[in-house]
């Protein structure tokens, strides 16, 4: 029983990070119909900026804030300079461009920060809380991870549901021409959407890096997991991304916790889950009614 609780807690914590990363992908997909394969590299870049600051003696929190702000800037620059040129064009163009960015940014990280493995600190301890006689797999750091993701999601909900700029962003995403005719600066909204997505992606990158080794390609598996989580949720639905991330986190944790040599099977398991979902519910678990556009 205790083992089950621990495996579940680990799964939920990791699932939260997948949720955040999936949410970043969904934000961009919703507004520009582009799957941003460069999301992981962009997040890795900001994580390395944070690491450089920490190594230079800054506190974790200063580094975190600077990293998130550089994510915002990086997202805006990427949209403005590169993506703007392929928006609304053939889908394959955008795919190739984001794949190209994925490679290019990763190479840039290696050039600037080196490709050695470096350990990334955590702001809180990695030792599980004591419950009765046992230590459980919930650590102060995982509480921080879960809280950071939940707060970010809450802020996004507030932004999209309750503010004018959030409404303008949704209108731009779902009715570009109408939004323009009604005076919404759609281009700016798309830039802002990419910038916000990059912040959320960066947060996921920083959270997953905590207590681990980072190197230019350390986000690669998170791209797979985040993508699977996003597709699980239907790719169009922020709620779906969050639930998809949690389901995936739990499933992968059970695979690695209960299947013999399961930890080696985690990547495969993610792809199996993806295939099963696509076969059973091609639109994802949270696919909206068929009356809505694809």
């Amino acid at each position: 029983m205790q083992y089950f609780v621990n495996v579940t807690l680990t799964g939920l914590t990791e699932g939260m990070v997948y949720s955040a990363f999936a949410l970043a992908l969904v934000l961009i997909w919703r507004s520009t119909r582009i799957v941003n394969f460069a999301q992981g590299s962009m997040a890795a870049a900001t994580t390395f900026i944070a690491l450089a600051l920490i190594q230079a003696g800054q506190s974790y929190w200063v580094a975190l804030i600077v990293a998130l702000l550089s994510g915002l800037l990086l997202g805006a620059i990427v949209e403005r300079v590169v993506i703007r040129r392929v928006e609304g064009g053939p889908e394959l163009n955008a795919v190739i461009v984001t794949l190209g960015l994925f490679v290019a940014i990763q190479a840039a990280i290696a050039i600037v920060f080196g490709s050695a493995f470096q350990s990334f600190p955590t702001p809180f301890g990695l030792e599980g809380f004591q419950v009765g006689d046992n230590r459980i797999a919930l650590t102060p750091n995982s509480v921080w991870v879960i809280a950071a993701v939940l707060v970010t999601m809450a802020l996004l909900v507030v932004l999209f549901r309750f503010t004018r700029i959030g409404l303008a962003m949704r209108a731009s995403a779902f009715g570009q021409e109408v939004a323009r005719l009604l005076g919404v600066r759609v281009g700016r909204m798309l830039t802002l959407g990419w910038a916000l997505a990059a912040v959320v992606g960066s947060l996921a990158g920083l959270l997953i890096a905590g207590g681990e080794f980072v190197y230019p390609a350390y986000m690669d598996s998170l791209i797979v997991f985040g993508f699977v989580a996003a597709v699980l949720g239907g790719l169009d639905s922020p709620i779906g991304a969050i639930v998809g991330g949690l389901i995936l986190g739990l499933a992968l944790s059970y695979v690695s916790g209960y299947v013999e040599r399961g930890s080696a099977l985690v990547n495969v398991a993610a792809l199996v889950i993806l295939m099963v979902v696509l076969l059973v519910r091609p639109g994802g678990l949270f696919a909206s009614s068929t009356a809505r556009r694809a």
Binding site: L167, R180, L181, L182, G183, V186
Partner: protein
Amino acid sequence: MADTRPHGSTAVATAGGTATAPALLQIEDLTSSYGAVRALDGVSLTADAGRITAVLGANGAGKTTLLRTVSGLVRASSGRVTLDGEDITTASVESMVGRGMAHVPEGRGVIAELTVHENLRVGALFRGKVEKSEYDRIYDLFPRIAERRDQPAHVLSGGERQMLVIGRALLAQPRILLLDEPSLGLAPRIVAQIFGLLRRLVDTEGLSVLLVEQNARSALSVADVGVVLNLGRVVVTDSARTLMADEDLRHAYLGF
């Protein structure tokens, strides 16, 4: 409905160029193309303040392109568009609504993923904060969408969608409303209801409307002036009453 129509003849005099006051929307020698296809070939017409001007013609006559060129969605290759004397030929699409022109595009442009109320709010976004009473006024005009205020807009019927997009455009407080085929796919009773409401807004609130319609009979029954387009050119401009009476013209270009 026809009885409430102001005198068409004065409007025609304006269209002929003998106006004393400048037209609200003036389109001069407008040409635009989609690739190699010339969709508008030197179109000139005016839409006067406080009038409903109907642009009629068959499919492919250039009606939709005309509206899209006026609001900047399609770039004019030559010609001039002025709104209240100000040249807006090359103005950005996003600036139009701020200049007092609201364009309800072909297919209505309901944003299906937003709720009915959110759709309305988009119409007022550029104005900043808007009093609740303005929304109430729209809901009073269209009680049917008021009932569905918090539902996602994709549940609306065609008629309700048309009411929603007109309401949304009105929240932008336009001086002139550009409507592209509002009657398309709607029952005659709903069309009459919507056109009746437009007439009332024009007569009582000084709204001006440039109405593009394939349904010429309904459009002429509510409009003051009719402009008939064919293959991207203006065939005739006259009062709605005169056009309605011209049987040959109706048969040749208007299909009734």
